[in-house]
């Protein structure tokens, strides 16, 4: 199983690819709404991509209120 750090890094890479940003632009503590300038709907699209990548299902309630990559990675990690 990957470590939390590895999962976090993978999430950052996925987000960078999805929103066409240069690698290294995003940091674990970044607020993705603010940093990516996205709304809640675009976040849902990113979540679908993350689910496919990790081959997990993230129920909507699990990501409710999450706005930074680190917490998101923790929620993913708990389901790996």
């Amino acid at each position: 199983m990957p470590t939390l750090e590895q999962t976090t890094q993978e999430v950052l890479n996925l987000a960078s690819t999805h929103f066409k940003l240069a690698p290294g632009t995003l940091a674990p503590e970044d607020d993705f709404f603010k940093k990516l300038g996205i709304d809640s709907l675009q976040t849902l699209e990113l979540l679908s991509r993350i689910e496919n990548h990790f081959n997990i299902e993230l129920p909507d309630y699990e990501v409710q209120g999450v706005s930074d990559f680190k917490t998101l990675a923790e929620r993913i990690q708990s389901r790996l």
Binding site: K34, D39, S40, L41, S48, S67
Partner: protein
Amino acid sequence: MLDLANYSSIGAALKDAMERFAAEVCLIESDREREKQRLTYREFNVRALSLTRAMQDAGFAPGDRASIIMTNQPKWLISAFAIFYSGGVLVPLDYKLTPAEQWQLLQHSKAKILITEYPIWRQLSTAPGRATAPSLQTVLVSEAPPNADLAGAQGWEEFRGSVAPTLVPRERKDLASIVYSSGTGGRPKGCMMTHENYLQQCVALTSLYPFWPGVRYLSILPTNHAIDFMVGFFGPFTCGACVVHLRTLRPEFVREAFMRYKITYVSLVPLVLKNLQKGLQARFAELPTGKRKVFNALVAVNKSLTKSHPRLWLSRRLLKQVHAAFGGELQAIIVGGAFTEPQTLQFFYDLGIPVANGYGLTEAGTAITVNDLKPFRADTVGKPLPGMEVKIVDPASDGVGEVYVRSKTVMSGYLNEPELTAETIVDGWLRTGDLGKFDAQGHLHLSGRKKNMIVTEEGKNIYPEDIEAAFESLPAKEVKEFCVFAANYIWPKRSMLGEQLIIVIHLENNQLLTDQLQQEIIQRNHRLLNYKRIHGLVLHEEDFPRTASLKIKRNELAERLSKLDRDRVILPL
């Protein structure tokens, strides 16, 4: 549909609906590509009555309050039925609020029963606040994993009575629900809605947008919201229609649900509608040149043939693929909760998909005006619904004034706030705080707000006072006082779009806005949910005007700030 004129309460109407439409499907619950359950009115009734009995046995008495904090799902509606059947008062709360906010409203509403889901209860039960809601006696939690610690709650699924319950009659004037239109700050605004309010609103809305057995309504907006409560529960249930719930609201599953369930109606907030528009536009742009030209020509033909009124059968043939993507049986998209840009409305109408655009307030009992599609008008919020009296008060030279409403759908007042109620409902007229005017065809045009609040594209009402708690205890050595405002309240704009909040800060003597302080403000701002965040900062060099009890005189401060140049004084955050 049931003739609601014959009923005096929601519970009585729902009881008869269960008998009248017993064999019809009333609920479908789907999670991703899996259908979890499908209930007929008969099956719904069996589950709901058993819950009702158990609640009555637990001492839930007529007039008692019960809160529901759940995502959109069948148990929400079953629980609401049980509350109304028992003559209780429903307190629907937003599941997206923080636990602290939910506890505050549970305390404010004096709810005796809380009905919620396990993931929500897990957060709520571990957050401080339970001691602040002593009225709460019973907590029912659905979908708890086996052997989970319920922290004093009981399982919803096991909470069943074995004998038939008694329908508790209510009068039309009795309280049916307390709906919070805002208010997680110091002053929650709990709108007290009567049975009359809902019965009247349901008749008015279904006269324009009818439901019937076979109709499938896709419930996406939270059911605690006045719109989904009406068109995703009470409206369809009194007509024998079916409500479809999705447990996962990812765009791809929502798209799939349209096709799989051949959805008839859906309600969306403007933000989602706009995203849908962007997605469709991107797909149209990808068409090869030849196909795109043919498609554009078909849209033009559809546009000219539907000028006077919608012709759904024709639009579905002309633009077959577009309509197929929506399931092929969509009658209309209901959009509400915030102002929608006319070009978005027009985009969908040109494709042959009518958008029921309207205007409403929780205080007014959901909708005040709705577009009747005779003909479709993208530039207005429609005409007053049957039974609604709407007038424009103190119009300026261009005819724009404050919108006042009088109707049997208007709330009876704000819970525990007689003064605020008296300011809001004057001689039977509800002062909306919105600005608008009527045109010659009787359509209402909205053009700004008089009140100090904003409505986001996600349909969230944000009151500046509710945001201020996030900035309390800013370093006292630097910040003498601060106040949050809706920017358009200080500098009125004839627009309902792009509304923003700002924070006005008065620094202590000889203090400058340091990078450190600015970072502190930014950090605190980030802790707020994204739609609640402030967009700019204004530095003010004088003491804020205050009342004898030292409350900030917001109106006076706004008046003072209005003399400044908006574009110059706001520092973006």
